[in-house]
């Protein structure tokens, strides 16, 4: 397998991992909205908290994590960009 193909394999794997995290915070937890709303976080009902703030914050963190790790993957295969 060429360097390019290996890089793409790893990039795809990273993409799928990120999509799983995204699906968890955007869909999976809201499948159980009624069930988790009895729990409490910072005094808020949990489902209310997640839709008002928690999932939003999770998305911000996921994208920063995704971008940092993708940069490392690019550098590993010699496709990193020079600072400009």
């Amino acid at each position: 397998m060429s360097n390019k193909e290996k890089h793409w394999q790893k990039t795809k794997g990273h993409m799928i991992m990120t999509m799983c995290l995204w699906a968890f915070f955007s869909m999976v937890i809201f499948l159980f909205g009624a069930e988790i709303n009895g729990m409490s976080f910072l005094g808020y009902p949990l489902a209310y908290y997640m839709t008002a703030q928690g999932s939003l914050l999770a998305f911000v963190i996921i994208i920063f994590w995704f971008a940092n790790k993708q940069e490392k993957i690019d550098e590993e295969f010699g496709f990193g960009e020079k600072e400009d």
Binding site: T18, S26, M27, G43, L56, F59, F64, A67, Q70
Partner: protein
């Protein structure tokens, strides 16, 4: 003080600008104490900020094609994040989001998740690859990846349909705010709004829009956060509302139980003469609806908004302007961070607004008091006269019940500062923030449409030999035409017929999401597949919309897929047709396959040259 170029000095320039804006707010506060009228303060706020944007627009004028279309590809990561956030947060987000949460509760907040979660798709699937491609517009990518004018034209069609649905609502919002702040009729306000929008974009294209959007973001976030923090501290909600309003949310649930959540019948509401568009609280603040349908309605709406977000051209094109592929990726993260600051505050504002009104222990509470007393409160008088709030004494006992108090959604943002007893200067600030939000989104949309028409239709299809001067003249003329068309439709006041902002997301996801994603992620995707997918997805979505929308054919929604969710019909049709037709046609040639491989590697030159 300013060594080096403009880009190196950006933090200093915008730091000074923010400081200047805060000083301006203080001056207005002093002016208010000195007896300047509320109306004058409102005019000064809107006029001053719009004048600043126009100045930035003038200073960013350009005669370069890549500056006009891509801001010279030198917008730093964090600043592009701010510009995208302003581009994203529309007048509707600013004025109506908190009101939507106030009335809609948990199920409405699917919009919050949808309008933020979509950025994960943007960063993983699209933005870095489109940046590497080096296109000027979204149809530019589709046209080059799949090859040919027919596919390019289909992409332009979807872009115009989605963006135009959105832009009239924005020009409508600028008109409403300008009319209110300047005391002029709505129709005149729309044209004032249009002129302000064009001042920011016409001379400098993307470059001017970028730097005004950064300035507009600063105004709108200051205008949103100051009232939230101030009110929270004033009513004892906590120093940092986002972390400390748990008790208030519980208290609201308790009060809802005490007062009872009553859904008024449409006949009662009509008989009492409640003006159209005003609502009473009928949905629990923090409760979650039970049952599979409630879950599906929540998740399906979130999916439509997320996938739509990742297909909206005016957002995607912001990531064409960063200096590198990795900064495009990081820039998506910063965009969402800046959006998060406002979106996570909207439910807090809704909570503060609701508790201020319904808690009888607070001096601002009105529910449970005598209607005669409530009607003599200054802000109630003022907003009643503008038909923004209304009291209907259904049971005739002279006491205001929860279901007898009606408000327009926008009132939550526009009037809460007054309700909580904040000085008028805050209301002026909120008007300036709303104007900034509506203008920045309108600018991005008008530019996306006119760039697609000038670059893809005019330059690529009609006159490929046109020189730079001619191209930029055409681009500017189209900008005025598109803006004027939007303003004309907005001034006819038929936006309620044109439907919800959500439609733009559904149109974009029906026609563009899969052609864009598969263009990068599936080498086997062919031109014929893309054309068939875009047209059938768009047609299926649009036909379903006509079939289901109450004002058109009004058939019952299938599986709960109503007119806000018609993308759930269009996008799968687009995917299936695109895959089937691609597999039936000849695989793309070796050059196209190499191009796709090249797009997947961040380093090296862009596919399309700097000037094309």
């Amino acid at each position: 003080m300013f060594k080096g170029g403009f880009i190196q000095n950006l933090p200093k320039i915008y730091g000074l600008y923010t400081g200047g804006f805060l000083v301006f707010i203080l001056m207005m506060a002093i002016a208010e104490q000195a007896g300047v009228t509320a109306k004058t303060i409102g005019i000064l706020f809107v006029a001053f900020t719009v004048a600043i944007y126009a100045l930035i627009g003038y200073l960013s004028r350009t005669v370069q094609v890549d500056a006009y279309y891509l801001a010279g590809r030198q917008v730093p990561t964090v600043f592009n994040g701010m510009a995208t956030a302003a581009d994203w947060m529309s007048g509707a987000s600013f004025v109506a989001l908190a009101g939507g949460v106030y009335f809609g509760g948990y199920s409405y907040m699917a919009f919050l998740v949808g309008w933020t979660g979509g950025y994960v798709l943007v960063s993983t699937l699209l933005a870095p690859y489109l940046r590497k491609f080096g296109c000027y517009t979204v149809p530019d990518f589709i046209g080059t990846r799949y090859g040919g004018n027919a596919v390019r034209f289909c992409a332009v069609l979807v872009l115009v349909l989605a963006s135009f649905t959105y832009v009239t609502a924005q020009i409508n919002a600028t008109g409403t705010i300008a009319a209110r702040a300047l005391g002029i009729p709505f129709e005149a306000g729309v044209w004032v709004g249009l002129v302000s929008i064009l001042l920011c974009s016409m001379l400098g294209g993307m470059r001017a829009v970028t730097w005004t959007q950064v300035a507009q973001y600063i105004v709108l976030i200051v205008a949103y956060l100051i009232p939230v923090f101030w009110i929270s501290n004033k009513i004892g909600g906590g120093v940092f509302p986002h972390l400390m309003l748990g008790d208030e949310v519980q208290r609201i649930t308790e009060l809802e139980g005490q007062f009872g959540l009553v859904k008024n019948s449409a006949a009662d509401v009509k008989a009492a003469g409640v003006p159209g568009g005003l609502k009473s609280i009928a949905v629990a603040h923090a409760g979650v609806g039970a049952g599979g349908m409630a879950v599906w309605k929540y998740i399906s709406l979130a999916i439509c908004m997320m996938v739509g977000t990742a297909s909206l051209p005016h957002i995607l094109m912001r990531y064409f302007t960063t200096p590198s592929v990795k900064s495009a990726r990081k820039s998506v993260a910063w965009s969402l961070f800046f959006i998060f600051l406002l979106y996570s505050s909207a439910p807090m504002l809704a909570t503060l607004s609701k508790i201020s009104l319904i808690d009888p222990n607070l001096p601002t509470g009105i529910i449970g008091k005598s209607i005669a007393d409530v009607q003599s409160i200054e802000w109630v008088k003022q907003w009643s006269s503008q038909k923004q709030v209304f009291i209907a004494d259904f049971n005739g006992d002279g006491i205001l019940q929860l279901n007898e108090w009606f408000m327009r959604t926008g009132v939550v943002v526009l009037a809460t500062p007054e309700v909580a007893g904040l000085p008028y200067v805050i209301s002026g600030l909120v008007a300036a923030g709303g104007m900034a939000a509506a203008m920045s989104t309108a600018d991005g949309l008008v530019l996306a449409i006119s760039n697609a028409l000038s670059h893809d239709v005019y330059y690529n299809m009609i006159d490929p030999k046109a020189d730079v001067r001619k191209r930029l003249i055409v681009a500017r003329v189209l900008l005025i035409v598109v803006g004027a068309a939007g303003a004309y439709i907005a001034s006819m006041r038929i936006t309620s017929i044109l439907g919800a902002v959500a439609w733009a997301f559904d149109f974009a996801m029906s026609g563009l999401f899969f052609p864009l994603v598969l263009g990068v992620w599936w080498k086997r995707a062919t031109r014929e597949g893309a054309i068939a997918g875009m047209l059938s997805g768009l047609a299926a979505g649009t036909m379903y919309l006509i079939w289901v929308y109450p004002k058109f054919m009004g058939n019952p929604a299938w599986l709960g897929i109503d007119h806000l969710r018609f993308g759930l019909i269009g996008a799968p049709v687009c995917l299936v047709v695109m895959v089937v037709v691609s597999l039936m046609t000849k695989a793309p040639d070796a050059a196209t396959q190499r191009m796709v491989e090249e797009v997947r590697v961040p380093s090296g030159k862009t596919i399309l040259g700097r000037q094309h």
